[in-house]
Amino acid sequence: MFARRFFISFPIFAFIYILQESVVSQFKIFGGGFSLFLIFALLWSALGTPEMGALTGFGAGLMMDLSQSTSGPMGQWTLIMILAGFTISYLGYGDDNFRGNPISLIFTIAAGVVIIRLIYLILGLLLGSDVGSTWSVIISLFSSAFWSAVLSPLLLPAVTRVHEALFDVKSGK
């Protein structure tokens, strides 16, 4: 079942990935912009089981690692996204109060994006990467929270519908 779901999800992730790398990266906006792919991957993970969330995180992280602008070693995003995907779906699995309430989901995604980037930063520091001035890091994290909070409500209905249509189950049930 995992393999089937994984391969069904792959074209959608590939499309969002190309969109992120080709189109979103053209815009220079406040705080360095946003990662549509990261927000989408977290929303997708949140709608599945913890195992599927981890597998989604694995695939998404692998694609993020393949991005030419990723500074860390191959596998750094993969590791973080496996744990992020698992955690975010584990948080809401079987909890209708969590998944039935879009506000809590959006808040979790916005906080999740910031935490994930912070972990990436810390892991990068441990692996010897430079991160720049504290001010630019703070601005970057703040803006990613802002953009995630803005974009998640816009993406959530579409992602939920596509997820339901593909897997023929009510998300969160």
Partner: protein, 307 residues
């Protein structure tokens, strides 16, 4: 919340984590397959990026202008007066003119220093999720671009080629926090190290504690052995503030970089440099003072006094 996963789930999670750790280990050990995967992905993505750059760059420029509304208010007011058709034509024309001006300016700089350059268009800005500052250009190994080549515009140093793909290249910008370049002060020839800070300002640290800096000093690249990664003499920026802390071993200064990184569209990769160091030949000329109109009144007394 779920009380716990089944064994299959745990096994899957552990397998995925082990795979990720294996990938990190392989990459840190420099296994070529991993590098090949990234190169392959970039080669596959570069046509999409080129098309997207053509279609969406005007929109991106518009958004960039919106974020700098205060500075461009005058220009916006002027454009408001024109009709819709003329405005559209003007935007298209402005895009082409800006590219042309940047190209002319970079060729002027390269010509003065006798650099052999390959011109390239910026097709993508860096990732929003990583803390790096990079751009992707549409020239790669097929055009003679190699790793560790200097990238410039007409205003000065843009960065250095980090990875060269067949038809594109990833350029690490001077503003990247990990970026460091040997620098010297034009005129006094004091040397130091300029480090990116993630913003349009960089920090210069002098190597000699006997020398001093002053606001307005022009900073140039010092150059590397065999001109890679840096050719000598490329303008970097101008000192805007000097840190004269009593306890500091050497002097440090804030440097405002010449290049406008928010408006990069055309750059040049220096593929060969002359044997002679251009020294201070590339120091930007100071703006000429605007002449103030003066009015001279000649008073001539009349020969015969009037009653």
């Amino acid at each position: 919340m779920r009380s716990g996963g089944d064994n299959r789930g745990r096994l899957l999670l552990i397998s995925l984590i082990v795979t990720a750790l294996l990938l990190i280990t392989l990459d840190l050990r420099g296994v070529q397959v991993i590098t090949g995967l990234r190169n392959g992905t970039q080669s596959a993505l570069s046509p999409f990026q080129s098309v997207a750059a053509t279609i969406f760059r005007p929109v991106g420029n518009f958004l960039s202008d919106v974020t700098q509304l205060g500075r461009t208010r005058g220009e916006i007011e002027r454009l408001k007066a024109e009709n819709e058709k003329l405005r559209r034509t003007l935007i298209d024309r402005k895009n082409a003119d800006a590219d042309l001006a940047q190209l002319k300016s970079v060729l002027d700089l390269a010509g003065t220093a006798k650099y052999k350059v390959v011109n390239a268009k910026v097709i993508s800005l860096g990732s929003a999720s990583s803390f790096t500052q990079t751009i992707t250009i549409d020239a790669g190994t097929n055009n003679g671009v190699r790793q560790n080549m200097t990238v410039i515009t007409g205003l000065g140093l843009v960065g250095v080629v980090k990875i060269a793909y067949p038809n594109s290249a990833l350029v690490q910008l001077v503003t990247d926090p990990a970026f460091k370049v040997g620098a010297r002060v034009a005129g006094s020839q004091q040397i130091g190290i300029l480090s990116g800070q993630g913003t349009n300002k960089a920090v210069l640290q002098l190597l000699d504690n006997q020398t001093t800096l002053k606001v307005g000093d022009v900073i140039l690249a010092r150059g590397s052995v065999n001109n890679r990664p840096f050719v000598p003499g490329v303008p970097l920026g101008q000192v805007t503030a000097v840190d004269n802390a009593a306890g500091a071993v050497t002097q440090t200064a804030d440097v405002k970089l010449y290049v406008k990184f928010s408006a990069l569209s055309v750059v040049a990769v220096v593929v060969a440099a002359p044997k002679d160091d251009p020294r201070d030949a590339l120091v930007p000329k100071a703006p000429l003072p605007k002449p103030v109109p003066t009015v001279t009144i000649y008073a001539q007394p009349s020969e015969t006094p009037t009653p």
